[in-house]
């Protein structure tokens, strides 16, 4: 009988939210509240568009032979950091609103057996997806506006580096959105399931 009383069953394995399902639910949440989602995404988009325009401008100046002074470079770095911070705060704010709006939904999910990490997963995925698409659009917008007036040097532009910067912006934007959503997501996950029972809206 010794074999029978082996390790007790681990509960974690018995409740699960597969990644594909979580992604599907996150996408659904975005498409259903598209207006709100687009505003959240727009924050990331603007921040990333600015970052990308700074990168693209630098490349364009390099291509036309102008060297950037230390001072300008420093000012640019400062502006980029500020703009990214502003978009991160915007995302956090927007996700917090989203959590408050959905507190009953979250409580209900917990009553249905959702673990805290399912809720965190859903909110981070949602923010990550928004951040990804926001950054994608932001990359192109930033590069477009930085280069639109510089047709002459497009031939000499280091296109490889431009695409590398784009990939970097995409990564930064997505990560930024996910990190900015951690606070709200944790707050959502801490919600007591009994809150779902409360009748007031």
């Amino acid at each position: 009988m010794a074999t029978m009383s082996a390790a007790p069953v681990k509960i974690e394995r018995q409740i699960s939210l597969p990644f594909s399902q979580a992604l599907r639910i996150a996408f659904r949440n975005i498409t259903v509240r598209l207006g709100r989602a687009m505003i959240t995404g727009a924050g990331t988009m603007l921040g990333i568009a600015f970052l990308m325009s700074v990168f693209a401008n630098g490349l364009a100046q390099q291509a036309s032979g102008v060297t950037i002074t230390e001072q300008v470079a420093q000012k640019n770095t400062w502006l980029v950091i500020m703009s990214l911070l502003v978009s991160a705060v915007g995302i956090t704010n927007s996700m917090l609103m989203s959590v408050t709006e959905r507190y009953k939904e979250i409580g209900t999910m917990k009553c249905l057996g959702a673990l805290d990490n399912f809720i965190v997963k859903l909110f981070l995925l949602e923010s990550g997806v928004l951040g990804f698409f926001g950054s994608l659009i932001g990359c192109f917008i930033g590069a477009f506006f930085a280069l639109i007036s510089k047709f002459g040097i497009l031939g000499k532009l280091n296109w490889g580096l431009l695409f590398a910067y784009m990939a970097m912006c995409l990564l930064i934007g997505t990560l930024l959105s996910i990190i900015a959503a951690v606070g709200p997501a944790m707050r959502a996950a801490k919600m007591a399931p009994a809150d779902a029972m409360r009748s007031e809206i």
Partner: protein, 284 residues
Amino acid sequence: MATEITSGAVSATDGNGAATQNTPAVPPNGAANGTPNDAYTGQEYIVRAKGVTKSYEVGGQPVHALRGVDIDIRRGEYISIMGPSGSGKSTLFNMIGGLDKPTTGTVFIDEVDMAQLDAYELAWLRCRKIGYIFQTFNLIPVMTALENITLPMIFAGASLDEQMEKGKRLLEQVGIGHRMHNKPSQLSGGQQQRVAIARSLANEPAIVLADEPTGNLDQKTGKEIIELLKKLNKESGVTIITATHDDKMLDVSDRIVWVSDGRIDKIKRRDEVDITVGTMAGVH
């Protein structure tokens, strides 16, 4: 070697015995997959609460929501809990439903001591053992009726085929198979509550907890919902526990529990209570 031949039942009892010693008793795989086994369903009582008290502080003032409650609920019973707001009814209800832990005393749900459970195990219990029905229906607004019902099944790890098959069957069972692809906003209150009832049954729970399930419905729809709950109670033997103000609900209950001032005032069987729907005559 004989024990190994009947390993299904033996391992289930064994798993329990072993589990109660170190970790809380949670049934091993056999029972978890929804195949009832004797070791687990043989117990007479699904809920056993002993000396339950609950106190918390509000603004530095201690509040005693429950002052010592004992209640045993049998498998397959239909129980209504009544009491004015502030009586501790909701606290008791949450306690039975695994949504809250007692300050002192013990609550056993299906032979599992609630106080011993950690967050994972509580979630497991809510997912598999307890179905919730809410006054405000609480369907996930962005999902269709069918998706709402399959959500707990996703948590429980059911396959897609299983989800679809069972989801459709449950919707048929509650009489809204034709609305399965509608969003909650496209359904009437009664229809939404039917979806919620189907969802509560998604993982074949042992208990369905219904918090004022007719509170947001008109008389006629409320009656239909009560009849549906009673039908499911009779057909599938699921224990139904409701918190209610609705006299129509008392009529189908096996037992009625009155809570006041943090204590159980009285518990009566349906046949001991003289209710003519619409009045409270005889209830004293």
